[in-house]
C-alpha cells in the first residue's frame, strides 16, 4: 500500500484509479474477444503494469507527446485516448483511430498526442526524441515521453537516442517498463544494464530506478523528469520495475515461469489493488464508491465494444488509401 503523500486531489486520484480499471477491463475484454476469434493479430496486454502510464500521464497535457510499443493500450488510455476508437481499431474497423489499418500493435491517437505504437522493439524511442527536438526547434513547451520495455535495452538505437537527447538537451522522458521478461527471456538473462543512475550519469543525464506498482510512486518519480523536460533541462531515464501478469500475448504458452510465480505477483503486486487499498485507507473512497468507479469503468468498455461491433469494416476498395499523404 502506498505511503506516498502527493499534491493530487482526491478527485484526480479516483480518476486515476478509474483509468487503471479502464485499462484493465479494456484488455481483459480484448483477451476474451481474442479467444473468441473476434480479434486477430498479436494482442499484448499490460495487465499488472497499469500504474506506470497512469502515474506518468498525470503530469502530461493532451498536447504532450508519447510514443508507445506493442504493449500500448495502457499508454494510450492513460493519455486520454477514446476507448471506443481504440477498441474499434483492435477490431479493425473504419471508426478505429487508424481506420483499421493499424490494429493493436500499430495504434496511434494523434488527437491526444500519441505518435503511435511501434511494435519493432525500441523503434518508437527515436520518434519521441524527434518530437522533443521539434518542440525545442519550434520554441514550444510540449514534452515527449518514450515508453519501452526492458527488452528494448538490447537494441542499439535506444542508446543512440539517449546520446542524442543528452547532447541536444531535449525535452524527452525515457520510460522503461521492466516487466521482468522479453517474451520468454528474463530481463537479467540478456540485459546487462542494471545500475540506471550510474548509466544515465555517465551520459550526462539523470536516471532513476523505482517501483512501478505504486501509481503514486510513479507519479512522484515522474514529476522531476517532466519538469526537467518542460524547462528544457534535458532528458531523464525512468526505469520502473513491474511484472507482466498475462502471457507475452494472449494465448502465449508461458513455459518460462510457474503459475505460482504469476499468482504470487497477482496477489502482491497488483497496482489496482495497491492503489485501491490506499484510497480506502486514506478515506478517499469507500467500498461503495469503489464499486461505482468499477461499474462506470466497465460500462465505458462495454460501450466501446458495442461501438466497435456496430462499426463498419474498412471498404476493401480503399485498401490503398493513405499509402501516400
Amino acid at each position: 500500500m502506498s505511503k506516498i503523500e502527493t499534491d493530487l486531489s482526491p478527485e484526480i486520484q479516483l480518476e486515476m484509479l478509474k483509468t487503471m480499471l479502464k485499462i484493465r477491463y479494456f484488455e481483459m475484454t480484448a483477451g476474451s474477444l481474442y479467444k473468441r476469434g473476434l480479434l486477430k493479430g498479436g494482442v499484448h496486454a499490460c495487465i499488472g503494469q497499469e500504474a506506470i502510464p497512469v502515474g506518468i500521464s498525470a503530469h502530461l497535457r493532451t498536447d504532450d507527446y508519447i510514443t508507445s510499443t506493442h504493449r500500448g493500450h495502457g499508454h494510450h488510455i492513460a493519455k486520454g485516448a477514446d476507448v471506443k476508437r481504440l477498441m474499434a481499431e483492435l477490431m479493425g474497423k473504419e471508426t478505429g483511430y487508424c481506420k483499421g489499418r493499424g490494429g493493436s500493435m500499430h495504434v496511434a491517437a494523434f488527437e491526444v498526442g500519441s505518435l503511435g505504437a511501434f511494435p519493432i522493439v525500441a523503434a518508437g524511442v527515436p520518434c519521441a526524441v524527434g518530437a522533443a527536438f521539434s518542440m525545442m526547434h519550434q520554441g514550444k513547451d510540449q514534452v515527449a515521453v518514450a515508453y519501452f520495455g526492458d527488452g528494448a535495452l538490447g537494441q542499439g538505437t535506444i542508446y543512440e537516442a539517449f546520446n542524442l537527447a543528452s547532447v541536444l538537451k531535449l525535452p524527452v522522458v525515457f520510460v522503461c517498463e521492466n516487466n521482468c521478461f522479453a517474451v520468454s527471456t528474463r530481463t537479467e538473462a540478456t540485459v546487462a544494464l542494471k545500475d540506471i543512475p550510474s548509466f544515465a550519469a555517465s551520459f550526462g543525464f539523470t536516471g532513476v530506478r523505482e517501483n512501478g506498482q505504486d501509481v503514486l510512486n510513479v507519479y512522484k518519480t515522474a514529476r522531476a523528469a517532466i519538469t526537467r523536460a518542460r524547462e528544457n533541462q534535458g532528458p531523464t531515464l525512468l526505469y520502473f520495475d513491474t511484472y507482466r501478469f498475462e502471457g507475452h500475448y494472449f494465448g502465449e504458452p508461458e513455459i518460462y515461469r510457474t503459475r505460482e510465480e504469476v499468482q504470487k505477483s497477482r496477489d502482491e503486486l497488483d497496482p489496482i489493488d495497491i492503489f485501491s487499498a490506499y484510497l480506502l485507507d486514506a478515506g478517499m473512497m469507500n467500498k461503495q464508491s469503489r464499486d461505482e468507479i468499477e461499474i462506470s469503468a466497465r460500462a465505458e468498455i462495454e460501450e466501446a465494444i458495442e461501438f466497435a461491433k456496430q462499426s463498419p469494416d474498412p471498404n476493401p476498395e480503399e485498401f490503398a488509401k493513405y499509402v501516400y499523404a
Binding site: 500493435m105 540478456t190 469494416d313 485498401f319
Partner: protein, 337 residues
C-alpha cells in the same frame, strides 16, 4: 546396415518440423553449428521452430540472445570467420532490416573485400510473409526477399515444402557463404513427405512441381500453393500449366526456367511481396532477355499490392495474390492475341 536399409519410407512431416530436423541433424554432425536468436532456447523461437533443440544441445549450441539484431548478425559473422557455423533466427523477417548493414555490407562482402582470405558460413533464418498468418499488420507480414536477392555475396533460398525446407536448410548450413533462408510463416503447419535418410538439396536448383506445356507459372514460398491450386483449376478447364518452384532466389536457376518457357511460350510470375521491384521483376527481365523469341504473350505478374500490409482483414485480403487471380492471368496469357 546402409542408410537405405534403415527405411526408405518417407514420413509425413510439417514444414516446421522439417526445419527443426535439419538443424538438429546438422548440430549433431558438427558442434560448431550453433543457433542464435531471441527466445530460441526453451521457447523455441518466434514460432516454436527450434523447440526441444536446447534440451538436446544446451546453451553451447542453442543460445537466447538480447534483442540486438545488428550486433547479432555481426557476431554471427565474427563467429563464422573463426570456425563456427551460426544460424541466426530473426523473429520476423521485417526485423532483419535492423541487421541489413551487417548482412549486406559485411557478411555478404568479406569474402570478396578481403580477397578470399575468409568466408562467412552463416544462415540467416527469416520467417516472413502473411496470408494464413493473419492480421499481423505492417511490421510482421512483409516479404523482403528482394532486398537480399539484390546483394552479391549472399545466397537466398525460399523453400515451399517440408522436403525442400529440410534439404535446403542442410545445404545452407554447409554452404561456405552467407545464406538468407526464408521460411514462410503460413507454411509451418503444412505437411509433406520427408525421407528418413539424409539428403541435401543443392542451392541454385529450381524444381518443377507440376508439368505442363501451355504456360509456365513461377512461384516460390507460399505462392507455390496458390500456383498449384490454380494449375489444378486450369487443368479442369483443359489448360495444362507447368509450375516451377525456383526454391533458390539467388542464384537463379536459369536453365530450368528458360527450358520450360521455351516449351510453353507463356509465363506468369507469382510473388507475395509488393509488386514493384520484387524478385519477379528480375525473373521477368531475365526471361525477356533470354526467351524473347519464344514468348507468345507478355510475361505477366501476379503480385502483392504496393501498400504496407493493413491490419483489417477486409483490406488484407485485397493485398495478397490469390489463386483466382492466377487463373485469370494465366488464361489471359494463354488467350493472348
Amino acid at each position: 546396415m546402409s542408410t537405405r536399409e534403415q527405411g526408405t519410407s518417407p514420413r509425413k512431416l510439417s514444414y516446421l518440423l522439417a526445419i527443426r530436423e535439419a538443424m538438429q541433424e546438422e548440430m549433431r554432425r558438427d558442434k560448431n553449428v550453433i543457433l542464435l536468436g531471441e527466445d530460441v532456447a526453451r521457447h523455441g523461437g518466434g514460432f516454436g521452430v527450434s523447440k526441444e533443440l536446447w534440451e538436446e544441445f544446451g546453451d553451447a549450441q542453442v543460445r537466447n540472445t538480447p534483442i540486438s539484431e545488428n550486433c547479432l548478425a555481426g557476431m554471427a559473422l565474427g563467429a563464422a570467420m573463426t570456425g563456427c557455423r551460426p544460424i541466426l533466427e530473426f523473429m520476423f523477417m521485417d526485423f532483419s532490416a535492423l541487421a541489413i548493414d551487417q548482412i549486406c555490407n559485411e557478411a555478404a562482402k568479406v569474402s570478396y573485400m578481403y580477397g578470399g582470405q575468409t568466408n562467412a558460413p552463416i544462415v540467416f533464418r527469416c520467417p516472413q510473409g502473411g496470408l494464413s498468418y493473419k492480421s499481423a499488420g505492417a511490421h510482421h507480414s512483409q516479404s523482403l526477399e528482394a532486398w537480399y536477392a539484390h546483394i552479391p555475396g549472399l545466397k537466398v533460398v525460399f523453400p515451399a515444402t517440408p522436403y525442400d525446407a529440410k534439404g535446403l536448410l542442410k545445404a545452407a548450413i554447409r554452404d561456405p557463404n552467407p545464406v538468407v533462408y526464408i521460411e514462410h510463416k503460413a507454411l509451418y503447419s503444412t505437411e509433406g513427405l520427408v525421407p528418413e535418410e539424409e539428403y541435401l538439396i543443392p542451392i541454385g536448383k529450381a524444381d518443377i512441381k507440376r508439368s505442363g506445356n501451355q504456360a509456365t507459372i513461377i512461384a516460390a514460398g507460399y505462392m507455390l500453393q496458390y500456383a498449384l491450386e490454380a494449375a489444378q483449376n486450369l487443368a479442369i478447364e483443359g489448360i495444362e500449366v507447368e509450375v516451377i518452384d525456383p526454391r533458390t532466389l539467388n542464384p537463379m536457376d536459369e536453365d530450368c526456367i528458360f527450358t520450360s518457357i521455351r516449351k510453353t511460350h507463356r509465363v506468369v510470375l507469382v510473388q507475395e511481396a509488393c509488386r514493384s521491384g520484387g524478385v519477379a521483376a528480375e525473373w521477368g527481365m531475365r526471361i525477356n532477355e533470354a526467351c524473347f523469341d519464344w514468348l507468345d504473350a507478355p510475361i505477366t505478374r501476379v503480385a502483392g499490392a504496393d501498400v504496407p500490409i493493413p491490419y483489417a482483414q477486409s483490406l488484407e485480403n485485397k493485398v495478397w495474390p490469390n489463386p483466382t487471380q492466377i487463373v485469370d492471368v494465366v488464361k489471359n496469357a494463354c488467350y493472348f492475341k
